[in-house]
Amino acid sequence: MTGRAGRLRRLLAASLAVNMFLLTVSAGAALGGVAVTVQDNYQADYGVTIPFTRSPRTTDYTFSLYEGGSAAGIPVVSAKVEMTAAQEDVYLPLAYDITGPQSYTLKIEARPLADRIGTDTAAAREFSFTTKPTCGCAAGTAGAFYRGSGSAADPFYVGSQQQLAHVGAHSAANIYQDRDIALSGNWTPIGSQSAPFMGTYNGGGHRITGLNISGDNHGGLFGYINQATIQRLGIETTGVISGTEAVGSFSGVANNSNLISCYAVAQVRSTATSGWPVLGGLIGSNTACLIEDSYFAGSLQCTDGSVNVRWSGGLCGIARELSTVRRTWNIVEYSIGSASLGPNRRMVGGVAGDVSSGSGSECRPGQLGASNNYWSASGSGGPTYAVANSANDMNYDSGVNTGCTQISSFSSLPAGFDPSVWEMGTVTVPTLSGGSKTVAAPVLKVFQS
């Protein structure tokens, strides 16, 4: 190469470098010793962190991430990296698979600086890696979480049946469901009396379908929750949610917990043949809980055997210790048999069966903090009141309707329903005969997008 050509090349390179530098600075990209300019507007609100120690001879790099074990084809994401610090973490957005491990190859290309173009030459290296669980479980653990730390600000992400089943292994964590999940087979409820779920579960406006439960005492998506919050989650199933003690679509038993902006379209059934079964559309037995902006549409069935008492309610079989229920509705087809201890012990409420407080010999009258609740009942053995028993006197029906209204249908949003949360829509309600009926009803906007 002649001296003139070399000078021309240096001149061109320097000119371009200066102009590119000005363009980059004008875009405001240089901050904190490393400026990352992602190409092609690729975006993700999660990704990878790469601890990077640069060559002392250049600050000019391109980082590219490819799926698989080599840098072949088109990268998923590519970014120009201008690194002035000697060592810094480089963050690249990357929408990797959150449901399991995924392999990538990082290719880093280094280019010479303008002044060193005659002494240095570009180089590239490749680094392969596989995403690892972020929940502390060993790689290969079934259902391990691959996104999030479980904190409130950075919850574990759930996107598959196996990951949903893994929630019980992190029972105090914050969970976010980032897509609809279709279940298959018989579901084992999350949490038990000895190890209840005590975290938060945010459904993100997504649904769980295909929920089928049999063979457990406390039947529901969750078996037992304590000081937990479940929100923005829908359950839609053509299967049956059943149990022998306390059964509800979301949880068999719930203590000091919240159910907010949730719904279930399901058939809930008690398979108890003796004892004291509890049956609710959303929650079986509930103590000091809040149910808000939620609904249940389906059937409640408790006809088996000869049981002492049949606690049943459109939302909860039992709601003790001043539980609060507001802005809810339910449309239920009932099939509730008689109770062996007497007709008034078949406690069926349009919203809750029994709200008396305490337990055992400590039972006392109680009440439900209720406002703007609407219920509709059909079938056999259904409710007369919104709450069947509030006086803890099983010898007579002490039903109350405070804060609850029986309805036959909805033509518009009912009183008290916030139009920023609810809108009128249609709901397909399963019937005990195996069919379904579609009705006009309020639906939650969070599930409509």
Binding site: S15, N19, T49, I50, R54, I108, A110, D115
Partner: protein, 78 residues
């Protein structure tokens, strides 16, 4: 747009003028050596090859190092 093109051309002209005053590659690389941009060790082969190092004699920029790559949320990037 007009202002941007004007600025672009101005920068290019300034850079061109700056380099026109350094037409001698010996002086150019001696200046880089003086500024500490290249080292004496790097200057020596330049001199040997009449200040036109063949590509094969240039130093590859592969002296960078990465640590363990981990996944993170957007609020946690380094």
């Amino acid at each position: 747009m007009k202002k941007f093109l004007t600025a672009f051309l101005l920068v290019t002209v300034l850079v061109f003028c700056g380099f026109s005053s350094q037409e001698n590659p010996r002086e150019y690389y001696a200046s880089l050596l003086g500024q500490g941009i290249i080292t004496a060790q790097e200057y020596e082969p330049l001199e040997r090859y009449a200040f036109e190092l063949p590509e094969s004699e240039r130093s590859p920029l592969d002296g960078f190092v990465i640590g363990e790559i981990t996944t993170c949320a957007i609020g946690e990037q380094g």
